[in-house]
């Protein structure tokens, strides 16, 4: 498995406050890599920085995708190169249907992608992507949207949050499918999901304090001294 994502020395500050510092991270092709950490550790910020979101441009370090330096590329150029992000709280749109949304940039049939996340296409394709959808429905549609893109690297920010527990298995199947077609960087608070990953990294105070076998990283995370991230690293 060759390296798909290589992040070196990534640093990010927002409003003068350091958010990420010295991040070194690699994700190989076909790998499911889990990011663990308490709320505020910097997991979502790292995903946004990798994706190239406005306001999350790193002040230090570089990001290579399949050997290409994408650090200076804007969001849409990174998307065109195969990076995709399933947002923790996906946006809603007035006047845009689920079918419209999945078709934007999509390489796969929207109906097929909806089925894979457990939603009946006949019930959802024509629905507006607005506040009439529940949080769980919107999250599943977001995952279907990532599937439709057939990304090389899928960044999934808590994809199972808000999903009923009976449907968790479907979401896990989606994660496996995305791993097969490229690689997945998964942010999760679910221990079972984390345990099934190939590798894991633990973030605390904007730094990676532990990385390697998931079992070891989970154990380190559970034994952490801090209950929330206050900028001081723990158990590093």
């Amino acid at each position: 498995m060759g390296t798909l994502l290589e992040v070196t020395g990534l640093g990010l500050a927002l409003g003068g406050r350091p958010i990420l510092a010295g991040i070194d991270l690699t994700v190989a092709r076909g790998e499911l890599h889990v990011l663990l950490g308490a709320n505020g550790a910097g997991k979502s910020s790292l995903a946004y920085a990798l994706m190239g979101c406005a306001g999350y441009r790193p002040q230090a370090g570089r990001i290579l995708l399949d050997g290409e330096d994408v650090t200076a590329l804007p969001l849409h150029e990174r998307a065109r190169r195969g990076l995709a992000l399933a947002w923790q709280e996906p946006a809603r749109f007035e006047g845009l249907t689920v079918a419209d949304y999945l078709a934007i940039g999509g390489r796969r049939e929207p109906a097929e992608c909806l089925r894979e996340v457990g939603l009946a296409p006949e019930d959802y394709l024509g629905r507006p992507l607005d506040k009439t959808l529940s949080g769980g429905e919107r999250k599943r549609i977001e995952l279907a949207g990532v599937l439709a893109l057939e990304p090389r690297l899928a960044l999934l920010d808590e994809p199972t949050a808000g999903i009923d527990f009976l449907s968790q298995a479907e979401i896990e199947d989606v994660i496996r499918a995305l791993r097969r077609q490229g690689a997945v960087l998964l942010i999760t608070h679910q221990e079972r999901l984390a345990a099934g990953a190939d590798r894991a990294s633990q973030l605390c105070g904007g730094r990676i304090v532990c990385a390697g076998e998931p079992a070891a990283v989970i154990a380190n995370y559970k034994a952490r001294r801090c209950r929330r991230c206050d900028g001081e690293t723990c158990n590093g």
Binding site: A54, L75, H76, A91, F93, E94, G105, G106
Partner: protein, 311 residues
Amino acid sequence: MADLATLYDAFRSLGEDPGTILAPDTAHIVAYGHQLVSQQSVPGVRIEAHADEQGVHARVVVAAGWLVLQPVHLCFGLFERFGVQNVDLDLVMEAGAAATFWSHCLFMFPDMARHAMDARIVLEDGARLSYNEVHYHGLSGGIEVLPRARVQVGEGAHYRADFSLTQGRVGRLDVDYEVEVGRAATAELTSKIYGHAADAIDLRERVHLNGEDARGLVKTRVAVEDQARASVTGATYGNAAGARGHVDCLEIVRGEATASAVPEVKVSHPQAKVTHEAAIGSVDERQIEALMARGLDPDAAVERIILGMLG
């Protein structure tokens, strides 16, 4: 001189099928400027129209109890660079009648022209009317559009009006609609407008909920860019027990454009309730990023969001 072939060509250029609009089983009025080109009544829909130097005068009556399956088409336009079109319309939906109207307003060529509509619309008890007005404008911005409507909605009747001006330059638009809603009747007014360059948009819509349990919704979606200007007044007055109304205004501003919204709600009966929401601003950054994350560049993402809102 314009004829039906001119209209056919215009519709085809817009991707529409004129054959369905002017089919033999479809009631219609076609007028260019102050020239009445065609009128057709069908069973259940009586059209009496004539034109003179002052304008086009039309009376349309949908007979009591008739459910009109084919939409009624009103086609107005100017095909010269300069001109004036005044339209004087009386539309009566008799008790229990139901119909859908499409008003096609074609102003693709004028450099300096004016279209003024003065409409009186009456829905008798139990009638249902869906009135869709779609404007197709050219790129010169030299058109002035002044629609006026006074609408009475009788007991248990339902009035729905959709106004759309999202293709080409708006020019100058000054809309003034006033709707009186009777007992257990409903009125829904939706306007979608996209202004560019130096377009000027003034939109005033007032709904009076005068009957018990009357319902009203005024929904406005406006986007302006460049140096365009928009002023929107959506007003709803709750005057009877059980009356419920809502004013919903969303305006998106780009470039040097400016927009204002005045949602006016007033209640004169203790058991009436009227609510409002208004938002003006640029396109939500999160929405833009969500579409950019699917490969759209920033301009395409903003355009997609605006067209979705106006779609």
